[in-house]
Assembly symmetry: C2
Homo-oligomer: 323 residues x 2
Amino acid sequence: MRLLTATTCLTLLAVAAYADPLPSWNDTEAKSAIIEFVETVTDPASEDFVPQADRIATFDNDGCLWAEQPVYFQLLYAIDVLKEKAGSDPSILTSDALKAGAEGDLEGILAGGMEGLLEVINVSHSGVTVEDFQSSAGAWLESAVHPSTEMPFGEMIYQPMLELLAYLRDEGFATYIVSGGGIDFIRAFAEDTYGIPPWQVVGTEGDTTYAADGDAPTLIKNGGITFLDDKEGKPVGIVRHIGQRPIFAAGNSDGDFQMLEYTTAGDGARFGMLVHHTDADREFAYDRDSHVGQLARGLDEGEDRGWLIVDMAQDWSKVWPGK
Amino acid sequence: MRLLTATTCLTLLAVAAYADPLPSWNDTEAKSAIIEFVETVTDPASEDFVPQADRIATFDNDGCLWAEQPVYFQLLYAIDVLKEKAGSDPSILTSDALKAGAEGDLEGILAGGMEGLLEVINVSHSGVTVEDFQSSAGAWLESAVHPSTEMPFGEMIYQPMLELLAYLRDEGFATYIVSGGGIDFIRAFAEDTYGIPPWQVVGTEGDTTYAADGDAPTLIKNGGITFLDDKEGKPVGIVRHIGQRPIFAAGNSDGDFQMLEYTTAGDGARFGMLVHHTDADREFAYDRDSHVGQLARGLDEGEDRGWLIVDMAQDWSKVWPGK
């Protein structure tokens, strides 16, 4: 083992300290605000210092860590599964939304509102073990391709957010996903994609039962939502799974409003941020009038509440990894 | 900084390796079986080696980590709260079980079966924030005293199980509680008592809603069970919270049967254990006919399933810490 002199060590430490933890973020106020918060809460000399066990950060998934246009990717997966199921048993198409789903008619599904969307997801996600469901979803994310970007869905993740997750973990944070998407669906890729293990994923939960027939006890998805992890549900999901108020929360839509509200209402230094989709060239531009990821109240009240509104076009030098 | 010679280091390592990780366990087959399992799954040269991220161990709480006689301590807490609530508003006592509860009449509550018990818990645990509930429960556990041992309830934990938790964590396991008891109640003491943080507690969940009136958004307990983490519910609770099948599960009653079944049905080395309450002198002796912690199917089938049945009287040299 080679010995390093004290001077060499100090030089290496200095280089490490000055390396940019967020290279895909432009040098704007957004980046400074994030770094200033992290440096404050991790500085033992600061009055806002937060012990490592309390450094909990929560992230929405759709539209925050990966894309969500033209519609939530989980719905596109559900449509593909529904088509296959309906091919062998058309009698499962018992409603207009399901019929639209089996034809890949997005507008037809969304005409049924959230109910139509949930119906397509419930029927496609039922009668399968959790393990088989996750294998199927994982394979789909690698092979199915996005209609406009032509990228595999599983690669439509935001490089700046990957850097933010890694930066927070390097600084002793536990990084959780708290998503309106299905918990089993997100767990199919969260560990490989974001470095977030299954037990740090909070999401919408479907009715699941234990089946011990025969030699292989397992968990079966029955369809039907038992817990909706969206809006007022997000703080509930946090208290059920994490049991502690986060100090950092990131989202992008009004579905994240209550998560940010709950997080930033705690004592001491807190950080709330909303990713604003302003970049039609590199990604998509949408907010108040979008049928997915609608952001209106967050834009109206966020700044007054001290939340950071990230302007994707201005604050990110890069959107996708490797591009 | 003093430098250690290589020989000193090796000696220290050897001492550490030979130190008994389970000093309150007698040198019986139970202790050997546990240690052999842990040494096997942590040995990179073993074909049953398990990577650290997959070393998940789940523990029941009542009757496994702490005592549960004459009845679950959470019910005794609920009775004390109910008495207080009924003192200022007797109109809340709308059933025989609740009336019995307010009089501290255990048999009267249990005459109503599980329903009566849940009613007392629901009424006493509602209309309070999660944070206030946990402060109240935590204070009660330190001050209220067990009727027969005269120990504070919060101290009626099993020293051999504390050692087992610490041993597993030292060997890279994540240790979870998976209990039929209330998740908020257990979190009131699990970190201080067992070293288990809130996000590693899985339990029965009550209806909880987010309230953002005024300046202090918080979570309110409404009473009413939304998820029962017992029997078939335990594997469901595991898949919801942990998202991965454990390799080690410990319980003491038939309420833990499915957790052990699910755990030990996985591939590779697995460990299931049941604490059998055989020690009327130092703790309590009960199994098939007990109204709490009934253990019958586990005794009938456990051995054939390869589960370890721990004989508390024979296998433990000590029951309580400090005694």
